[in-house]
């Protein structure tokens, strides 16, 4: 973002004086706007092809910065009107009904798969049953290690290294 701001200032104050603004001004020949993600644009603001003048370049930079700023205050600005909401829900149901035949068999199979039992017949289980239920060694291994690990887990704590909130140095 620092990169973005500095470009902004340079082109604003010095006009044609630096290499970046020159590039932007000469880009008129390139008339096809290229689809870019905001992130790419932010990282290399100088290389964005500009079909129009400097003002639009600045606007674009401003817009990109705005999309990259986490604006908590604007979080609750958007809400759907009640009638829009009902209308759209109705549309979804309609469209979903249209594809019903295709999904019907697929989902009945899926439901069957989810509801069927996981237990299966096992051949020759006598050996397993003859053995003692659990090997003493394994039992002790589990007891020892689980207490060791949970002890180690309890020792995990947060180390304070630096402040989470960093005030900007505004003169």
């Amino acid at each position: 973002m620092g990169c973005c701001c500095s470009t902004d200032k340079d082109s604003n104050q010095n006009g044609e004086s630096n290499e970046r603004t020159h590039l932007l001004g000469n880009a008129v020949s390139n008339n096809t706007p290229i689809q870019r993600t905001p992130y790419d644009g932010l990282r290399y603001p100088g290389s964005v092809p500009k079909p129009t003048d400097e003002q639009s370049a600045l606007n674009k930079i401003l817009q990109q910065t705005a999309t990259n700023v986490i604006d908590v205050a604007a979080l609750d600005s958007h809400n759907l009107e009640q009638h829009e909401y009902v209308e759209r829900a109705r549309q979804y149901i309609q469209k979903a009904q249209a594809v019903q035949p295709v999904l019907l068999s697929k989902y009945s199979k899926l439901i069957l798969a989810k509801n069927s039992a996981v237990l299966k017949d096992m051949p020759a289980i006598d050996n397993l049953l003859i053995d003692s239920p659990i090997c003493v060694m394994n039992y002790h291994m589990m007891m020892k290690n689980s207490s060791k690990i949970s002890k180690a887990l309890n020792e995990i704590h947060i180390e304070h290294k630096e402040d989470l909130v960093v005030p900007f140095a505004i003169p």
Binding site: I70, H78, Y92, K106, Y107
Partner: protein, 123 residues
């Protein structure tokens, strides 16, 4: 569609304490909504559900650790897990004591539903 709903309802029963599964679009308009009677009505409202897809997940994606996939919110009585499956969103409403690991793992079971809905319903 009825079968799809039944499948989601069947998944709802698989985790103790899971109260509702809602698949919505970006604005919180539900495509599939399966809920127990005990589900908190507040959490089923579009105004609540849309805050995730319209705002929170986008904003969280700007923290510099890549795209946001899911947000787990744990409240004093409930937990809400919302998954970003753009253009749709999966919201799981569960009681606080429900097994979060199991809930998160339901993503695999619900993926097929979201994909089907996304391809058939959303333009």
């Amino acid at each position: 569609m009825e079968e799809l709903r039944k499948y989601v309802a069947c998944i709802l029963q698989r985790v103790d304490g899971l109260l509702a599964i809602i698949i919505t679009d970006r604005d919180g308009v539900p495509l599939v909504k399966v809920a127990l009677d005990s589900a908190p009505e507040m959490a089923l409202r579009p105004s609540y559900l849309s805050t995730f897809s319209a705002m929170a997940t986008d904003q969280a994606g700007k923290l510099g650790v890549g795209k946001n996939n899911k947000i787990i919110s744990i409240y004093s009585n409930y937990q809400v897990i919302q998954m970003n499956k753009s253009p749709l969103t999966i919201s799981l409403i569960a009681s606080k004591t429900a097994n979060t690991g199991q809930l998160v793992n339901l993503e695999n079971d619900l993926l097929v539903v979201v994909n089907d809905l996304a391809s058939s319903v959303v333009d």
